[in-house]
């Protein structure tokens, strides 16, 4: 996977305004520390422009170690910048990726049985339901939501702003879907799909696709 991210002065990083927000592209070649140095210099030159900004970071296939992540954060913090989310371009389902939820997600919440009307489950991390979510039931997760049954209630994935979050159900028939800051209602007259489906953000809308 390669991006047209190198500028003419190949030793400079590219910032692009995507729909999700201003995105920093870090190429996949060369060591990460190299690009950190480049980033540091670049920001130093344009301090006032970036100061206080919140950006997205596109890493492509590169995986960051916790140490690299904290180094990246350290550089950005120096210029009072924060990371909103990672990899806005990623389309791959189930790709391993960093989640930017603070505090750190506390793993997966496994719910056994039906989530009924009036029941609301909130979890810092991912939620997996072994059963149905009935109308009036609510799932709220900072990470992904997976329903091994019929999702008829409300699901809010990536509730703290993780636009990478996904909602998966064996049958997706929700009242409402919410991912990060985007809310969506099933369009009028839409048939309930047969078979498992996945909802995620594409551009500025939530799209549902067959899994």
């Amino acid at each position: 996977m390669s991006f047209a991210t190198k500028s003419l002065f190949s030793e400079q990083l590219v910032f692009k305004g995507l729909k999700q927000g201003l995105t920093l592209f870090i190429p996949e070649d060369k060591p990460f520390t190299h690009w950190l140095g480049v980033l540091d210099e670049q920001l130093e030159r344009a301090k006032s422009f970036f100061r206080g900004g919140s950006i997205l970071v596109e890493l492509g296939e590169r995986k960051l170690s916790p140490r690299e992540l904290s180094e990246l954060k350290a550089v950005l913090t120096k210029y009072q910048m924060t990371i909103k989310a990672f990899n806005p371009l990623a389309k791959k389902l189930f790709s391993a990726r960093m989640k930017m939820d603070e505090p750190a997600p506390s793993g997966v919440l496994l719910v056994k049985g039906t989530v009924r009307n009036g029941q609301r489950l909130e979890h810092n991390g991912d939620i997996v339901v072994k059963g149905d979510v009935n109308p009036g039931g609510e799932l709220i997760a900072t990470g992904d939501i997976i329903v091994l049954g019929v999702l008829r209630g409300i699901a809010h994935a990536g509730v703290r702003g993780n636009v990478q979050a996904e909602i998966i159900a064996l049958t997706l028939a929700p009242v409402q879907l919410r991912i990060a800051h985007i809310y969506s209602r099933a369009p009028e007259g839409m048939e309930v799909g047969q078979g498992p489906e996945i909802a995620h953000i594409k551009g500025e809308t939530i799209v549902v696709e067959r899994l």
Binding site: R116, G118, D132, E188, V192
Partner: protein, 266 residues
Amino acid sequence: MAARVIVVTSGKGGVGKTTTVANLGTGLALRQKKVVMIDTDIGLRNLDLLMGMENRICFDLINVAENECRSFRQALIKDKRVENLFLLPASQIKNKDALTAEQMVRIVDELKEEFDYILIDSPAGIESGFENAVAPATEAIVVTNPEVPAVRDADRIIGLLQAKKIYEPLLVLNRLRSDMVKKRDMLDVDDINDILAIKLLGVVPEDEQIIIATNKGEPVVFNQQSKAGEAFRNIVRRLEGEAVPFMSFNTEPGVFGRFWKMLHGR
């Protein structure tokens, strides 16, 4: 002898809780079980009317709770048609706050030793009246109608019952109209099972005999000609552990998706 303590509840009002209690109580007593029905719908009591016992009330549940009568025996009204059938009526002048969950547990504990079945008629809603009705129960029957709001409320109630450790409530689907189901104008049994996913105890068809029975104060379970009466007799047998096949209403199988679309505009 330790009684089975069963609360009959629904969330939504008017779905047939009291009718169910009156018929199950009568039906069980007809099978020589010793039954007491407790009406906890304080301030809006109806069970005495359905049983035709209104004119015989002296003491009520609140009097028993407040120790204003010698014992609960003084408040119990004995049915004149069936042996072993008793009613502990609700108070009509007080309201739901007049009773506590602790009092209900104590009263049921006293009754337990003398009866086979204690049926508790719960008020509508999920407030203190519901809490009081559920507190002493170890089993529950959820009554619902084939309508979206009734099913929603039943779902809510099942969640609340499970939070109170009644994990396997039984479902009674009341007022089903097979003609409407056939035309796909009404939720089918399968559609409701899909959502609620609890064990179905019985399906009671819509039957004008119920209205007549209610006004006469004579539970429809006595009526051998009534379809609803037959349905309640079957429910009683299932409650007693018999395997009774479900009555056929000539309905076509699941049309859930279609209904969902119709009812939710998508």
